[in-house]
Structures are given as C-alpha cells and as structure tokens.
Amino acid sequence: MGDSDNLDCERLTGVTLSRRQFLKRAAFVAALPSALALAEACGSSSPSSTASPSAITNPVGQAILLNYPGWIGPDELKDYHAKFPEATVKMNTNVPTTLSGYVQMVKNNPGAYDFSLGDNSQVDQAKAAGIYQAPDWAAIPNIKNVSESFRKAYPDAPPNDYGKIIIAYRKDLVSPAPTSWADFWKLAPKYSGKVTVLDIDRDTLGSALKYLGYSGNSTDEAELNKALEALIQLKPSLQAISSIDVAKGLAKGSIVMAATFDFDVALGAASNKNVTWAMPEEGAVAYLEGFYPIKGSKHLDVVYSFLDFHLDPKNYASFINATGSAWVMPAAEPYIDKAILDAPSLQPDPAIVAKVEFEKYLGAATALWTKTWERFLAA
C-alpha cells in the first residue's frame, strides 16, 4: 500500500491520515478478510462518531457475564447501572484456564450466565454446544463504531479486543536477542528458572505448534504430541506456567524471557525500559474476541443494552485503558491513553500481522487439545 492509496483516501474522504495511522488500519486489513478494505483503510468509522441512543430504553434485571477479572473498564458496570437503574450487570470471574473451558462452564451451569467472553474458537464451540444466541443487532446500534474489518472477522457478536502471543524479553539480560520460537527454545536452558509460558492451552500449545512449523490450529494427534514433547523439553527451564506477574517479573528481572500477551510487554516496559518484545519468525497465534449472548438467557435486554453501552467510545476507551489491550474501535482513540496508542507491541505493522494466525474452533479435537495440555501440566 503506497502513497497513492493515501491520496485516494484524501480524495475520498477529505481526511488526511498520517502514515502511521494509515498503516495501522491497512495492516490489520492485511490479516483479515475484508470486502471493505479501502473504506476501512480510510477510516469509515470517523473519530467524530458519537454514541447513539440505545434501542432498548428500559432494561430490567441482572445479567451475569463470564469474563476475565479486570477485563472491563473499572467504572463501566457502575456507570451502566447509574444509567439504567433497573438493570445490573455482574461479572463472574471464576474462569477456566483453557479456552474450551468457558463454553463447558456455561453449558454445565444452565441458567447461570447471560453472556460470556469468547473468541472465534469459543463462539463456534458455543454454537456446537447449543448455547450461542445470535444478537439482536438492532438493539446494539453502537456496533457501528467498531471497524468493519473486525466485524467481518468476528461476525457472531460485537468484537471487543484482540491480541497475540509473542516473545517478551529483557534486552539487557538476554543475548542474543531472540527472534523466533526456535531461539526461545534454544535460550531457555541458558536462562533456566527465569522463563515463563502462559497457562492457557490454546496460546501455549499453539505457540509450540508454530515452533515446529505446524498450524496453530492443528488437529493432528501426531503434531500435537510433538508439540507436547517440545513443551515437556522446555519445562525444566520454566519458572512457571502462568499469566500472572509476568510484566512484574520482566520489570524486576526475575523473568528474562516469556511467551506472553502483547499487552504484558507495554505494562512491563512502563516499569523498566529494558522490557521489549519480538514477533517470532515462525509466527504467532492470536485471538479476536468479544462478548456473545447465551441462549436461554432471561435477560437478553440487559445484555444488549450493556453491549451497546460498552461500545460507546468513551466507555470502550476506559476498557482499553484498564487492560492495555489492542482495540477495535478507531472512534475511541481520542480517549485512549497515549502510552497504549503508541505501545510498540500493539502496533499492527504489516510485517507483524502477516505472521499472525488466529485461533479457530477445533470441533471434536478440542478434547484432544485439553488432554494434551493436561499432560504438559502434569509432566
């Protein structure tokens, strides 16, 4: 995408984009199928779009959301209740450590949840288990604030955020600087006791598959077993299989290398400038997630009105500011912290994005993944 495209944008919309803003939009498009590539690149969701009045004016009741702790703006639930006094949204953060566990929990606890966090793989799994509820889009008018490309890539519910699993490391403590999963595996014994991987099956097993050159969505038992062996080989060097305190550890130097989320890098770098990251050459697994409604919920009106509330640029920005995650809403950018806007690990440069593989639903192979993951944990 050269300068000529930039000029096209100016001609089409009269809006001048900086090269970086343009790249940001264009880069993500490169990784996702999108029929409206150019419109997206030129920012079809203009920064000046405002929150529209919700189609549901009087939601009543309490809706329960299954979600990561802290994965919401700090005041969102409170403000929502203030806006709609008869409705509350409560978050249950007693979440599983495998992605497939989310759907399992909802299915095995009927009536307990009204909507849930879910990426593409989880939404498809929810459909297979019969618990997915297609949203009433008319009740969520603010969905228009979300970039079209994200909507296309995640069509079943309002998209919320995305991220990738990359190598975070201390550039002053690790040499040579890792640039691939192969480097990660090779360097781990040298820094034994100071290396971590995530405790989420799809993310870590997926990264191991990438290391071996396989697809991060492989359903082949032989490939999975090889990935398991690679992880078991790595295990003695690991300090922990954990997603907690990774940023803290990196900042302190008690962790010098980690396979972790891109937003962890920014958090660590804020405390210690030597925390940096690398996109592995073999590629990285990534997720694109949102909140999807649960079938059979008796409070869908609350669910939809909350989702609409959440997609108001100001509220959405508060969520991004709290989590440091990559965002799906250009309209929220004026309200997002500069540190996050500029965070190097979150920038979707084309070179980076080309190497990303989004996690997909694996059908019956899900149980196989879970078993393989358990074997790794128990090894």
Partner: protein, 271 residues
Amino acid sequence: MKTFREHPIVSLMAVLTLAFMWLPLFVVIANSLNSDKLLAHWGGFTLKWFKQAAADEAVRSGLVSSLEVAALTTLVSVGLALTGVLWWRRASKRGRRVYDGLVYARIILPEVVFGMALFLIFTRLHVQLGVLTMVVGHSVWGSAFATVILQARIRLLDEAVEQAAADLYATPRAVFVKVTMPQLGPGLLAASVLVFALSFDDVVTSFFLAGSSVNPLPLFVFGLIRFHVTPEVNAIGALVTLSMITLTLIAVWLLMRLFRGPGSIAARLGF
C-alpha cells in the same frame, strides 16, 4: 523465662515457628502499603490500594456475601453440632461409633470431592447455586469441626459431672446448668468462631457451589491471584487480617466475661 532455661532448643524452635506463622501477615500488610504497583521495589507509603479496594463494588459485595454465608453457616453448623453432641453423650456405644464415623468422614473428605458431589446433585435437581448452596456445603464440614470441639469439651465435662453427681448428689438439671452450660459455653464460642473463620475464608467448596451471581470474597481474590494480580489483593488481605484479629480479640473478651465466676451472665440469667 523458665522454659527458655530448661529447654533452650525447644523454646527457640517454638519462637521461630511463631515468627514463621506471622511473617506472611506482615508481608501482606507491608505490600498493601507499597505504592509500587508491580511490587518490584518499595515505591513509597500509600493508602490508595485500600481506597481502591473499598471502592471496588466486587470487593464490597464479595465481603457481604462471605459474611452472610459465614454467619448462616455458623448458626447451622453449631446448631447441628450442639444437638448432635447432646444426643451423643447419652447415646449407645454403637450409636456413638456411627456418629463419630460420620464426623470424621466429613473432616477427612477433601473439600474437592465433596464440593464436586454437591455441585452434581444441585445442578441435576436444577437448584440455583448461590448463598444457600454455599451454606449447605460449608455446614456439612462446619458441623463436623464444631462437633469435634464440643465433644472435646464434653469429654472433660463428664469427669466433672461424675464428681459432682457422686459428691454432691445434685439434680441433673442443676448439674446441667451450673456445670455443663458454663463449661460448654467456651466450646460453643470457640466452635462458632472457628466455623465462622473457616467458612468466611473458604475457597474450595465455594468454588463449586457459589454459582455465577454470588462471588464471595475468597473466590474473587482467588480469581485476582490467578489472573490479574493487583495490589488491591494485598489491601483486601490486610483489611481481612485486621478485621479478623479484631473479631478474635472480641470473641476472647466475650469468652472471659460470659463464662467466668458467679457474676457470669449464665448465672445472672437465673440458670
């Protein structure tokens, strides 16, 4: 102190053990006052984590739920234990053995096993998980702990009862209220405080039985520790620590006031 002279090594070990037990508490309190969010080093004294914890709706509702569950659990557990033990001391040998077996089974059973079993039956019967299911779950082992404490108390008691009955020819009623009640009182209080604390702090049974709409404080904290640690965790811990210490001291004070001497409330109530 005499003991230090007589048994220096044992005394030293005892003191070290106490230090070992209290160390994490001080660490928690220190961490809760540290302004460095990542606790990588001392960032300066601050109360902001406490403010954050106090303002956090999840913390507040979690605290309320936990208190509710603990209070109800204590009532149920101690009630079951007291009635059970009063039966037990007069029961036949076989009855006692069965009763004791059930008590031990409930203490022995790892909470995991038992939480899972209750989860299965509640969901199969379509019972809504929440405060009441937690109370049920906690009471099953809570009543066992309370029973053990009361039984220990009652065992000491029987000897006194024997003495009184043999030496004073007192009526059973007088024996019950003048000897049993005051003796049992501390046991009841101790059992209550123990069950309350265990229930308030319980993670495992609550993990299975809390359901989605109730998030007792320990579960909430467990979630934070597992996924998204914030210094808030330490502030909550510090607050819980200080509250519990206060509660314990109050209980001890009550213990000493209610059940001592002729001016005791039991006596004043005309028992």
